[in-house]
């Protein structure tokens, strides 16, 4: 697959590229791959917490898109479709893993698996790097412990810059339900991450937006 990089190609919309891929132009598909591989891998990494699994699932998403190109009809935004595939694959993988872990834990003697089920013991860490890792782990644990739908809503809202209409379509719920879902999710995170929130400096209003698009004040 040869790819030509020029402004005209880069400016083509996702739908245009997908329609060209449907017509048999693999270079257009390659551009979609380059446009969305990073957001997709990041999203899936935050969903499954494992970089190798996130890469594998992201590749699977692109393969599914490639396979479905012949039937593609631009009825919804391309990203809605892309992230819906990603969400379904991630949820399936999480459920499979959980099921396998449950089977292992049921088979194994209780003493052996108990320590691994606990969070790493919090010790006084002087090393700044370790402290940061701890903070990051705490944030990840808090986001991961959200109910599935709330977690996906937060990941798409906070990290993928998606608007409410699009997230609602990915989650197949109404916009009003999504707003309430997001409020509950952030409220839980605010409580769970209270020690970090209390110590955080108040950012400038422009930097507070969930998607980095600050409300003009």
């Amino acid at each position: 697959m040869s790819v030509r990089y020029d402004v005209a190609i880069m400016a083509r919309s996702d739908v245009q590229l997908m329609l060209e891929a449907k017509a048999g132009d693999d270079a257009s598909f390659e551009l979609l791959l380059q446009r969305y591989r990073t957001p997709l891998v990041s999203f899936l990494y935050r969903m499954v917490r494992d970089s190798a699994t996130a890469e594998d699932l992201s590749q699977e998403v692109f393969i599914r898109v490639y396979r479905a190109r012949a039937k593609y009809a631009p009825s919804a935004k391309f990203t809605t479709w892309l992230f819906r595939i990603a969400t379904n694959l991630a949820l399936n993988r999480i459920r499979d893993t959980r099921h396998r872990l449950l089977e292992i834990s049921l088979d194994a003697p209780a003493e052996e698996h108990e320590p691994s089920m606990e969070l790493p013991a919090r010790e006084m860490r002087v090393d700044q790097l370790m402290l940061e890792r701890d903070r990051a782990a705490m944030i990840r644990n808090a986001v991961e412990s959200l109910p599935e739908k709330q977690r996906i809503a937060v990941l798409l809202h906070k990290y993928e810059d998606m608007d409410y209409v699009e997230i609602a379509k990915v989650l197949e719920c109404s916009e009003a339900a999504l707003k309430s879902l997001l409020f509950r999710a952030y409220e839980t995170l605010r409580v769970q991450l209270a020690p970090l929130v209390a110590g955080a400096a108040s950012p400038a209003p422009a930097e507070t937006a969930g998607t980095g698009k600050g409300r003009p004040s």
Binding site: R37, S58, I63, A70, V143, Y159, V197, T208
Partner: protein
């Protein structure tokens, strides 16, 4: 009471307010409530800080082999068969096949009904064809076979006369 209701009412607008997606009306509703509600003011401030904290969650970049791996998997995909080109939508094709089968099946019944209808219309045709003869009184009058028929046609007239007589008595 009213205070609490207002807090609940604006809660679903807090996130759009903080991410800059609330419209002017929602924005001023949150701001005017926050101006009189210290608890919500504090909550808004904490949400702002929370969004900053959440930025610390690490992201990852795809590995250098990512694109190559996707290309490799794509090239391993079986090429689209002739069947895929001819039948781009298997469900639609299946529905059409069922429709075709149904129409053939229904067609059988229609033909049977038609044959009955044809037989009927053939009889009608013969009657119509003979109508000229049947309506010709002179022909019928001289037709010996008709005189051999029982005079059943008289009976209804007789009954009618009896009925008329009864009606007259009443």
């Amino acid at each position: 009471m009213n205070y609490k209701t207002n807090c609940e009412r604006i809660s679903s607008e807090l996130i759009p307010y903080l991410d800059g997606r609330a419209n002017a009306a929602e924005q001023s509703a949150v701001e005017s409530h926050a101006a009189v509600c210290p608890a919500c003011r504090e909550r808004i401030e904490e949400f702002r800080k929370l969004f900053g904290v959440l930025n610390e969650m690490p992201a990852i970049e795809p590995s250098g082999a990512f694109d190559a791996r996707v290309r490799e998997r794509i090239s391993a995909e079986p090429p689209r068969s002739l069947f895929d080109w001819l039948v781009p939508a298997p469900r639609l094709a299946f529905a059409l096949a069922i429709l075709l089968a149904l129409s053939v099946w229904m067609g059988k019944f229609t033909t049977a009904e038609n044959s009955v209808a044809t037989a009927q219309s053939e009889q009608d045709f013969h009657v119509i064809k003979d109508l000229g003869v049947l309506e010709n009184y002179d022909v019928l009058k001289g037709f010996d076979a008709l005189s051999e028929l029982p005079v059943a046609t008289q009976e209804p007239d007789q009954t009618q006369q009896d009925q008329q007589q009864k009606d007259g008595q009443i």
